[in-house]
């Protein structure tokens, strides 16, 4: 059995190994031949029209209502996992405790729903 730190190092080695493999592949591809630079080739493909105009602008994400509620739900997960691990051991108190917590969150969801946060804006 490996120690925890050894396991982390293994994961880190995996990350570095993959990065190195990919770089090696890129090197191989480069050895086969370089990309030929030509006009129009490096413009993002847009189905036959040459659109050189940049698109980085203020982007209207229509799901921002969901996004706001999601942030709250994401936060809640910090509590759920440790709770789940000791749940059986603690028993009914844990269910009751978490029930209250989830009910509060569900209330928030219902409020958002009623106010129209759960739709495309």
């Amino acid at each position: 059995m490996m120690s925890v730190l050894e396991q982390y190092s293994l994961l880190l080695a995996l990350v570095l190994g993959i990065a190195a493999t990919v770089l090696a592949l890129y090197g191989l591809a480069r050895a086969i031949g370089p990309a030929h630079r030509e006009p129009g080739k490096d413009v993002p493909a847009s189905s036959g029209a040459l659109s050189r105009d940049p698109v980085w602008g203020r982007y209207h994400a229509r799901y921002y209502g969901y996004a706001l509620l999601f942030l709250a739900f994401d936060m809640e997960m910090a509590f759920m996992y440790p709770w789940a691990v000791v749940y059986r051991e603690v028993g009914l108190v844990a269910l009751y405790d978490m029930g209250v917590f989830l009910a509060i969150l569900f209330l928030g969801l219902l409020y958002g729903w009623s106010q129209g946060a759960l739709r495309r804006q």
Binding site: L5, Y64, L68, L69, D74, V86, F101, I104, Y111
Partner: protein, 178 residues
């Protein structure tokens, strides 16, 4: 022990490095993702310090939350692509001063605080998670439920502020402007 210190240092430097990138770029998305990777590096520091649950949680939560921050920045900031080369820093003199003072305070606290005896061996990661759960359901239950209420408040506040209410007056108004 030395390996741990080494990795803490490496990830710490990475965190600072990405933190610098946050302000050195004029692209909002780049800035947001640099902040994300800075936070990820902090999560890796937690891992190197053998607080596994905290580290993994940090790595997980930041990915989604910083990405959502990125989209909100793209929605509401001018020139999110940074094509205008906008400088993201303001009030340079004041902020440099504030930064230096804050760093000084942090260093002083770090050296002066009584950190207690160094733990020879950190408890097993599985034990940590279990202990955290017990804490949540025992002594800290009230804090835990208060957090629930706080999150609820945040949800209600966010919804009330951000979501336009559909009333008849509102829709009539909208038709006027169109």
């Amino acid at each position: 022990m030395y390996a741990q210190a080494f990795f803490v240092a490496v990830f710490g430097l990475a965190a600072i490095g990405f933190g610098v990138v946050v302000f050195r770029t004029s692209s909002m998305v780049r800035s947001a993702l640099a902040l994300l990777f800075s936070q990820t590096a902090v999560g890796c520091m937690f891992l190197a310090m053998q607080t596994e649950f905290l580290g993994v949680l940090q790595i997980m939560m930041m990915a989604t939350e910083m990405s959502i921050m990125a989209i909100f920045m793209v929605m509401f900031m001018m020139d999110p692509g940074g094509m205008g080369g906008m400088d993201m820093t303001h009030q340079k003199r004041f902020s440099i001063g504030a930064g230096v003072v804050a760093a000084g305070v942090a260093i002083v606290v770090a050296f002066w605080a009584d950190w207690g005896p160094v733990t020879v061996e950190a408890p097993d990661a599985a034990m940590q998670t279990r202990a955290l759960g017990m804490e949540l359901l025992g002594r800290s239950m009230l804090i835990f439920e208060t957090a629930g209420i706080t999150i609820l408040t945040a949800m209600i506040a966010a919804t009330a502020v951000a979501i336009p209410v559909q009333t008849t007056a509102n829709s009539a108004d909208k038709e006027d402007t169109e």
